[in-house]
């Protein structure tokens, strides 16, 4: 039994390592090559415009497509592995995620982060990042939201995450929650970091609230178990 659990964990570790490798390759290699394509196509467009060649319009279209391809490649990279979390830290990574979604999905976002909140534990940061990512995508995909608020604050000894959208709203919060995969995974991630997660309808749209203890408190609780 112990052998099987160990083998299962090894498979999960290998899978995680593979996702990390793919995410890094997409971010560090493919996205950079896309950037070069974007630059070169832009330059071609300018040269053709200068020479008043009609094909300039085709070059412009390639240039515009390459810009979108960069955004989508970086978005895909984040899906595999949020490399910005590792290189920039939690708040810059979340801000970049939100800004990118604003641009890709024409979403208007407001975000407010309490600078005294520290999320140094990489596992906690990763799960929280993924919760924000999933919630934001749900707001866009399912909720058809146009506006999103993301707020991270500290109240007492706890860190509070609030995500509110103006979409169509989640139906019947009082009844058993939808079994959609994304919601299940969010709940699972919240559980891993010892957080409470609630998703409720708002006057317009949906509100997600996630609350978990600060790292020191969390570590102290672990020691007492």
């Amino acid at each position: 039994m112990a052998e099987r659990i160990k083998a299962q964990q090894e498979i999960l570790d290998i899978s995680a390592a593979e996702r990390q490798r793919i995410g890094r390759d997409l971010h560090d290699s493919i996205a950079q090559q896309m950037a070069a394509l974007c630059l070169m196509s832009g330059m071609l467009w300018r040269k053709l415009v200068q020479k008043e060649i009609v094909a300039a319009n085709d070059a412009l279209e390639i240039h515009q497509l390459s810009k979108r391809a960069i955004d989508e490649t970086r978005n895909l990279a984040r899906g595999f592995y949020p490399i910005e979390l590792e290189r920039q830290g939690f708040f810059p990574a979340v801000e970049e995620l939100i800004v990118n979604m604003e641009r890709m999905f024409k979403l208007k976002c407001e975000w407010e982060f309490d600078e005294t909140v520290q999320i140094d534990d990489f596992e906690v940061a990763t799960h929280l990042y993924r919760i924000i990512q999933e919630a934001a995508y749900n707001s866009i995909r399912h909720g058809k939201a146009k506006n999103l608020i993301v707020r991270i604050s500290k109240i007492g000894g706890d860190i509070h995450l609030l995500i509110k959208d103006d979409g169509v709203g989640i139906a019947n919060a009082k009844q058993p929650m939808s079994n959609e995969m994304g919601l299940r995974i969010m709940r699972h991630r919240a559980k891993i970091i010892g957080a409470e997660l609630e998703i409720e309808p708002a006057a317009k749209g949906t509100v997600l609230m996630c609350r978990f203890p600060q790292k020191e408190t969390w570590a102290a609780e672990e020691k007492t178990l």
């Binding site: 950079q32 630059l39 070169m40 955004d71 970086r74 290189r87 970049e96 990118n100 975000w111």
Partner: protein, 133 residues
């Protein structure tokens, strides 16, 4: 002639930026580098008017460290950060480090020359997507 140094760890990006800059008759590329040591070494040998610095040198944020080092060693030398990242935080961090502007690579084909001229004229340049809330 306006003398420009380009610092980016991607050879393809560096060479494409250089080709773009060569379209301007009053721009001269006086050198290129790929990391902090090669950039600082180059700056002891050439006297550019502006240095283009990729934020994500070596995959990390060492571009900001380079901007800080240039600010200390060559206070009058302009720097323009370039990056794929569009976070408002990077724009602020570049300015705090002493940089004169922030340009997204996705906009470089359209805005690079404008950004450089604006900085060389004593102004600042910032890509719209990098503006803070």
């Amino acid at each position: 002639m306006m003398k420009i140094v380009v610092v980016d760890d991607s050879t393809v990006i560096r060479e494409t930026l250089i080709q773009l800059l060569k379209l301007e008759p009053d721009f001269e590329i006086c050198g290129q580098a790929w990391d902090i040591p090669s950039a600082l070494q180059l700056l002891t040998q050439v006297q550019p008017n502006i240095v283009l610095v990729d934020i994500s040198l070596d995959g990390k944020e060492s571009g900001i460290q380079l901007i800080q080092a240039i600010k200390v060693r060559y206070p009058g030398l302009h720097t323009l950060a370039i990056s794929l990242h569009d976070s408002g935080v990077y724009g602020d961090r570049v300015l705090k480090a002493g940089g004169n502007g922030y340009l997204m690579k996705q906009e470089a084909a359209d805005k690079l020359v404008t950004a450089i001229r604006q900085v060389l004229n004593g102004g600042m340049y910032r890509s719209e997507s990098a503006l803070p809330k």
